[in-house]
Subunit: 409 residues, 2 copies
């Protein structure tokens, strides 16, 4: 299941960027599962990665290679992504397997091994099927292409339990020129990103200094991928990469930086929302807006407490205006000296809670009408400060249990 | 569903303690839903209550009455419990309704209103059906009885989505005499107690000073009800009450205190485990043991992170030895400077994880054999300190979603 329909956008070609995919037989026969993304020598690259302590082998290697490239002023030239196996919880052998895959692509492309950043997604704890993966690298490399279809195939080639590809593309003005930002992502379950989503790959043709690129990525991720949750489980393999090819306009003035930041946030929010719309078993797309908090962290804490509540999520699935469950979840959020009499909760345009109890004008019919919708906004006004946050989540359905209990993912 | 079978124990009568129940029509016709528990004038009483900021009206009144009794050196003489409605999120009217129910029972019994402590459980946010409740008080009061059957009826009269009554009784030696501890509890969903379970009522015939009774209850709750979770949702109505009737042996020596503390923990652990075995949709009873943590809190944090993970819970439901999900959950626990290479994870007697990856001797067959069981222990050795904790939880099944989505609870 998935909420709404979002066609994959037409991605403009970006000079110097080519994407190749193949069916390497890692995930299952007849399924694109290996992707090579080529960046030009002029590119700068930034990345944010999972904070899970059991961080997967490819994440460790990608971080190390990124640092090595930076030290050697070498551009990371290739992103190598496989689905079907996360290469996580695989110990020393997993690290060696990830490095070996980088070396194989590096030989094929004639670049140093550190110029290849590896990414894996899929089942955790099983050895990487190295033979199939290594054998797929040459065909994927040979298939490189810059056209829109190549972007779409790459976006399809990184999916796991996702039911559809997730892409976004915007153009923003920079001075008297325009730059393009293309991005795609995957993710459906084990989604409670902490620094990034499961996997997100974003490329712009702008020219951006590495330190600025890093800051822009971090800010945009904090307002997009770090504001979503399907099931509260942070993955071992989260990574979001941003490359600036340097072939387009230089971004350096404050106005240009703001334009790029806005465009980047637009792409990342679109991808993050697409992950939620395709959340495992999702039948609802839910926005939680928490306002008048003391700090943004406090607002996020309240929003995520509600977003993670299995009782709120099953009520959303049932289209049941059981607002007592929302109130109970807000009440258990980690907020110091919480005066609940000041809390106001709205479901869509319907006021649910004020003065510590049900709002006087509330009717079950009005609440149920909002709950019946596929897209629902819950607003929680804490009445105690000036900070706010917005979080997106999905519901908890029978299909979520089926997807995660009926077969191994 | 529920895990295993536990017959309700035969509860010995305790001098001065009488329990009355009736079918007041609050929950549904033909169902015991109102309970009066009478304590002797010699009783001391301690209580622990939910930390949910949206604390229900009866919890607020019970706390106030308990304090009032203490200030006036008056024994709390009655616990008045209804199921079918939680009287939570009901604002000023809810408080007035709770107080009115206390006054009604107080008039019937000829005691001050503060001697009545009210408790409610059931749906949150709907007005208390006061008329039915008040009308039921006289019949429940008249039905008071001290025999074992009265205990069993009272335990049945507080249930909500529970599929069975939960009771425990032990006898412990105090000096050359023996004291009895009888307890019963309810709870099945919205179970992540923070100071207590949904509702637990425990009575001993020992004579115990109020301050000591309070400390004993708090300690026992911290190792029982505060160590369980079904769905991570802390209720607005959690309360656990302990009365010492004072009719039996005086507990004051260190040895006697230890004996009472052990007996009390035994009763509360049995009740807490019974809640988990009857967790909404539960098909598995799971023990999480975290050892060699820096602090007990750190051990609890890791245990609860795993216990709350929907992906671990659905794997348990599926009897799928998907240990990568356990590893991923451990890895996202809030532990500072986490060296995962020192972590050892065992599933029953089978080693899953060591040195950052799958244990060398592990086989899927061995893991699956443990997962197929109805009772499963997961041991997580953090290898970094001397503290430990144990947490009990259930799995996440289709029935959990049905119970919480198919009708309003």
């Amino acid at each position: 299941m998935a909420v709404g329909t979002i066609p994959f956008p037409t991605m403009p070609a970006l000079e110097g960027v080519r994407l190749g995919t193949t069916m390497a037989g890692i995930k299952q026969a007849g399924r694109r599962d290996l992707v090579v993304i080529e960046l030009p020598e002029s590119a700068t690259v930034a990345g944010v990665f999972t904070r899970n302590a059991f961080c997967a082998a490819p994440v460790q290697v990608a971080k190390a290679h990124l640092a090595e490239c930076r030290a050697q002023q070498q551009a990371p030239r290739y992103w190598l992504i496989n689905t079907g196996n996360a290469n996580a919880g695989t110990g020393a052998q997993g690290l060696e397997d990830a490095r070996e895959s980088c070396r194989t692509l590096a030989r094929e492309a004639g670049v140093p091994a550190c110029a290849v950043l590896p990414f894996s997604t899929g089942v955790i704890g099983e050895p990487l099927p190295t033979q199939a993966l290594l054998a797929g690298i040459a065909p994927a490399f040979a298939a490189r292409d810059s056209q829109s279809a190549a972007w779409e195939q790459a976006a399809a080639g990184i999916l796991t339990t996702d039911t559809r590809s997730k892409g976004a593309s915007v153009e923003v003005p920079v001075g008297d020129r325009r730059i393009t930002i293309n991005g795609f992502a995957k993710g459906s379950g084990m989604i409670r990103p902490d620094m990034a989503t499961m996997l997100g790959f974003v490329v712009t043709d702008a020219a951006v200094e590495p330190a600025l690129l890093e800051r822009l990525l971090r800010d945009a991720v904090n307002h997009s991928f770090n504001c979503i949750t399907v099931d509260s489980d942070t993955s071992t393999n989260d990574a979001c990469l941003l490359a600036a090819t340097g072939r387009g306009a230089q971004v350096s003035s404050e106005a240009d930086i703001r334009a790029l930041a806005d465009g980047l946030e637009q792409v990342l929010v679109a991808l993050a929302q697409a992950v939620i719309r395709d959340g495992e078993g999702a039948t609802k797309f839910v926005t939680l807006e928490v306002t008048h908090a003391t700090t943004r962290q406090e607002a996020l804490d309240v929003a995520f407490t509600v977003a993670h509540s299995p009782l709120v999520k099953t009520a959303l699935y049932a289209s049941d205006a059981n607002w007592g469950r929302i109130l109970a979840a807000v009440g258990r959020a980690p907020v110091a000296d919480f005066d609940v009499d000041r809390v106001v909760i709205d479901l869509g345009e319907v006021r649910l809670v004020e003065s510590g109890g049900r709002a006087p004008g509330y009717t079950e019919a009005a609440g149920s009408a909002v709950m019946a919708r596929e897209e629902i906004t819950i607003r929680i006004d804490l009445g105690r400060g000036d900070d706010s946050a917005r979080v997106w989540t999905s519901d908890l359905s029978h299909d979520y249990v089926s997807i995660n209990a009926d077969y191994r993912s």
